[in-house]
Symmetry: C2
Subunit: 333 residues, 2 copies
């Protein structure tokens, strides 16, 4: 306790507090005495008392759909970097792609007294924003852009459209989509919308049997592609919601005797660490996760500290070209 340190150093707790918080205006000898006493006693301030007193918790919350998803972990990791630099702790929670759960987790963090909150995406429980507002803390949404709220993200529809256009430029006409769950997931939805729009712009359509929604993961990708083949004439190219899905689809395609990219071009999302090492290396849309995390962290901290911020930060998503895409019909490439 600060009291013990004060006694040992022969000062008051006020002075202890001043020294430990780096306030100027404490005479050198007293400062040193306090430092030494704190050291000797192994003094660790009580965070709750400090938080209560300063009305600052020095912690920021984040609710992500799935902690086990590489993309979100990378964002959390870089987000935490920034917070740490500013002296804040990250408290992360898992919402599992469920709006009710997300509300519950966010409320939990709000109760804990976080000074700011990061959310993923644009779709939330109707009560969520009201609660955040009542708590009076800043929030930032990531991964997708928004006109209403501060955000750091990219244009999911546009980047997916870019992938579709690239495939069409190569000559593909029958393009399929395998996405993860889209319910309450604006990113997935926007991507499909973007692809459909890009196809429509060139007079093509996204056939319902080529528009597959499955659960995430390699297994999901396999199932998804199997499902797609069951639906009549197969596509010559597919765009997948994640690299894991793309990996699964590639496995299934090969098992069905299709060669990649000869019979089927494949594009993934996220540029996972294994993407360059697949056979063939996977063309994918790279999301600059680290930059999203940094920007979101900087934004939130600036708001907490009352500094001016930009409300919308767009992070670029790049189409990384590798060998899993070629013009259609080039067998044995």
């Amino acid at each position: 306790m600060a009291r013990d340190v004060a006694r040992r150093a022969g000062v008051s707790t006020a002075t202890v507090s001043r020294v430990l918080n780096g306030f100027a205006g404490v005479r050198a000898d007293k400062r040193e005495a306090v430092m030494r006493a704190a050291q000797d006693l192994g003094f660790v301030a009580n965070g709750a008392a400090r938080a209560l007193s300063t009305r600052r918790f020095m912690a920021v919350g984040a609710v992500v759909p799935n902690i086990e998803n590489e993309a979100f972990v990378r964002v959390l990791s870089s987000f935490q970097d920034r917070l740490r630099q500013a002296g804040y702790t990250l408290v992360a929670a898992n919402a599992g792609y469920d709006l009710e759960d997300e509300l519950r987790e966010a409320t939990f963090l709000l109760e804990r007294g976080v000074d700011g909150l990061m959310l993923v995406g644009d779709i939330h429980h109707p009560d969520l924003h009201a609660r955040i507002a009542r708590a009076g803390i800043p929030m930032v949404q990531t991964f997708s852009l928004s006109r209403e709220r501060p955000c750091v993200g990219f244009d999911n529809a546009a980047s997916a459209a870019r992938a579709a256009n690239y495939l069409m430029d190569l000559g593909h006409r029958r393009i399929g989509v395998i996405s993860g769950l889209r319910k309450d997931n604006d990113r997935g939805g926007a991507r499909v919308t973007g692809i459909a729009a890009a196809l429509a712009a060139r007079g093509l359509g996204l056939a319902p049997e080529h528009d597959i929604e499955i659960s995430y993961g390699i297994g999901g990708g396999r199932d998804g592609f199997r499902q797609m083949l069951a639906g009549g004439e197969p596509p010559t190219a597919i765009i997948c919601g994640t690299d894991q899905i793309a990996f699964g689809a590639m496995i299934e395609a090969r098992a069905r005797g299709l060669s990649i990219p000869g019979d089927l071009s494949v594009i993934g999302h996220n540029d996972s660490d294994f993407a360059p090492f697949l056979d063939p290396p996977l063309t994918t849309i790279r999301i600059h996760s680290a930059e999203i995390g940094h920007a979101a962290g900087d934004h939130l901290i600036a708001r907490i500290q009352g500094k001016p911020v930009v409300r919308l930060t767009e992070i670029d998503a790049a189409l990384i070209l590798r060998a899993s895409t070629t013009p259609p019909g080039r067998r044995g490439t």
Copy 2:
């Protein structure tokens, strides 16, 4: 504030507290008035004040070497499950395989007032345990077993030895190891020790040029295997520290014209989601991450609540046999 709720409900803050914390002995009408007032006002208790008052923070900390590592994330995820069920929040931090950083992060959590702490492995900064002791909170170490401290883990040496024995049973004599960084990482070290011991028990040795230490990841695995080949007669089988490393090694081996498992049997660690989908599917040591997380969570909560616990929980690690391992010299299998 509770005060507002009290005023609105026409009671004292004491009664508000009693109702909101589910204490019996409040008359039904007052209870309801409080509930309604709290609802109307959207009352959210101030966590800091509560923590200060109860001297319980309702949060548990965890420091892991690398948040982006699948195995740790899975443990954190299941750990959090249990904490959440008991009403606790998880605050996780990243130590990056560095003892100083780990100490810093752990101190940070201690300052925050966590009620318990989870650590990974047996090697820590010399001051760490003293600080935890001074904070007076329970800790549990995961992934490796310990005689001194409460732990939930498995016998890294024994499970790696099992993999080595399996390879020797298949007839392999020249076995190599590619591990991640071993500095300050008892898991990696123990595995290599276990393998060396298993080899020695059968009159074999682990050649220095077959004992490679590299950074984690697919790239690391490639580099590692390249390094191993540079060291003279290549091994007929390798055991890798993670499945990512194994993946990288397989890529490099194939690039060098080696067939797997014909020329080279490969065993990984962790049974990552992609392991069954590699070509050939990867034999690997599966760590029951979810069980480690659950057991660690249960342990810590029991300790916090003053219930009796077992100090050492051993979680089984299983050798999952797939097609990446065969007897040596069977080309074209």
